[in-house]
Symmetry: C4
Subunit: 214 residues, 4 copies
């Protein structure tokens, strides 16, 4: 009994179950992104030029598909890093995680909007806001878990907690920059996400590559 | 062999497998909710005002998305609490659980209907009926499992069983109230679900917060 | 090494992985069934009578949704019974299982067709053919596994193998009856599936209820 | 701690979690293939001839559904063979795997295109390119893992690594042949995938059937 008590504070809800729901929603949201690529009714176009046009029309959608897939994958990687560091989960963390998943499941919609109207800043802004909400909720969740080491395993060092906090600010910060650019009327503001990989390396500091510092 | 006998009564179907199917259907139904948000054909609208209109049109859909996501998440949490308390599963419980999942998988449809016609009581009523059927089936399942402690682990106290029964009546009761309001012609009756969190706290009684009384 | 050798004959593919893919495809196909219920464009109908009409139009779709969900659930239960009895899996079984999943994933299409055109025998026939192919493949898979007890665990009795063979003929047989009726021009031939529960009880023989004879 | 160190190099991301995401995305992509089969609006056609026409129109879509399902299943089998041979996963492998999943999730789109326009070489070419990218990424992933036995378990023989490399070239090679044929204007070039099973047997060499040489 003490074995299960160290795993969770809410009766019946272990880390493993929350991770199973999380894996399912991430995998499904990432696969549903493909529905942002559209093929008009088969009858409409029957010549090679028509097929070429379908591919051309879907090109901005495809770029946003790649972007959204990569961002969701990065969040999925972070999520498992976070949960691996937890000793227990409490009720608040479960509901923060559900709010996080609510924004994850919205991504196919905001990606579709951004891909269909790439030149209109408002549609990019919706996408960036969505990503901001995911990243922000993930950051708050990490703050809640690490505040006074509330839910953290003893073997996790304070240095690792600090690195993960810095890293958790990268995507929300970049998203805010994108929202700002879009609100100034700049098109294609979703390009700001190209800054994420170098900024993550910066946040990690000098010597933590490959092994994640373990 | 006795190890597996304590896990299931139906040959080959352990709690773990049923939980895997349940997690899958919950995760997909929650993610499919995003398809209730609609983007008209890309060609139709190309100016910023058009994108703003898409967002406005989807606003009641979005509210119903949040509501349905939260309700399904609450049922998912309850489901794991229920199953954690089980010692064995029998054939009847498996088929009650399948009926439950049948109603869970319907939620993207009833949410779409309620979000597309927020002002028409009949569409809210369909949504509330759907949630009532999920909650009612979950309650019946719990009655079946706990009647004479038929399927319950020895360490689960009678007090916990009673709390879970009271709590299991909250969502069906609130849904009935919504159906009644809708049948009187009241619009936006889905707002009744805002009563769920305080009523759950009430049902839990004074001292069971955070740790679930374990 | 001998521990893993008793689990699988194909390098790296254990029963657990095949069950994970199977659970995923079943859960997803069962949830996708909801897309067979259709809501016309929101703009089209805005009065209560319009919403009532949407519900009426979807009624045969709903009946087919319930039927397909129940049939898939029954196959899912059988699948776990089959796999629980296996000692090892070989290459042929893996590919038979993949063919089975191919037909499982088709069910949302054939259900949609049968629900949209309930009065036209050809559409019922496509649904019945789909179910026949799932049931038939499942039966062949069981024959392959049990022939000379090729892949079967030692604790599984010959009596259980025989019961499972009889039971495995129920759904293919009922489907053939449905196909025959449809080919004679009888409408609503999918009603034949109401015969499945009593026939399964018959196939099980006198004393195997609830515990499955374990 | 050393136990988990032998499982992963990236903090918190074990083989098991990556396999869970991979199983999820494969299962959903394979099930989403069914959406490439299309039923026109129910009102449009109400006579038996109309239903027969729906089935006829979907015939090339169905053939591509079977092809894509089988190819994805073959990749899924290979993926588990690869991962079973790994001792650890590093950051590069995780991101190669995510790129792989990005192309896997695209398959419902490219299959839909190829099935809707079977006579236009460009649409077949998009499908073949998609499959080429999956197979190519899988091959690169295997090169990365096996180069200097970087991530490989000690019990995996060099002979097995070599067989898996040869086998990993079959689908990319066949896809290139298909792309070439399509670029020469040949229709139905996706038929080249019928060559995959015999070529895989060839790549396996004389004595490795059934048991995979274990």
């Amino acid at each position: 009994m003490s074995g299960t008590e160290t795993e969770h504070l809410v009766y019946g809800l272990t880390k493993a179950r929350i991770e199973a729901l999380t894996d399912g929603i991430f995998a499904f949201a990432m696969t549903l992104l493909v529905t942002t690529l559209e093929i008009p009714e088969p009858q409409a176009i029957l010549d090679p030029a028509g097929v070429a046009r379908i591919i051309m029309v879907n090109f901005p959608d495809f770029l946003h598909y790649v972007l959204a897939f990569a961002v969701l994958a990065a969040f999925w990687v972070s999520h498992h890093m976070q949960f691996h560091a937890l000793r227990v989960v409490d009720r608040r963390l479960i509901w923060m995680n559900i709010a996080l998943l609510l924004f994850v499941a919205l991504v196919p919609f905001s990606t579709d909007l951004a891909g269909d109207y790439p030149d209109i800043p408002l549609s990019s802004m919706v996408f960036e806001m969505n990503i901001f909400l995911i990243g922000g909720m993930m950051f708050l969740q990490w703050l809640h878990a690490t505040d006074g080491r509330r839910l953290i395993s003893p073997e996790v060092t304070d240095a690792r907690i600090a690195i993960a906090r810095r890293r958790g600010l990268v995507i929300p910060g970049v998203s805010l920059a994108g929202i700002l650019l879009a609100s100034l009327g700049v098109g294609a503001s979703t390009l700001v996400y190209l800054l994420v990989p170098p900024l993550v390396l910066l946040a990690d500091g000098p010597k933590t590559q490959e092994t994640g510092g373990t």
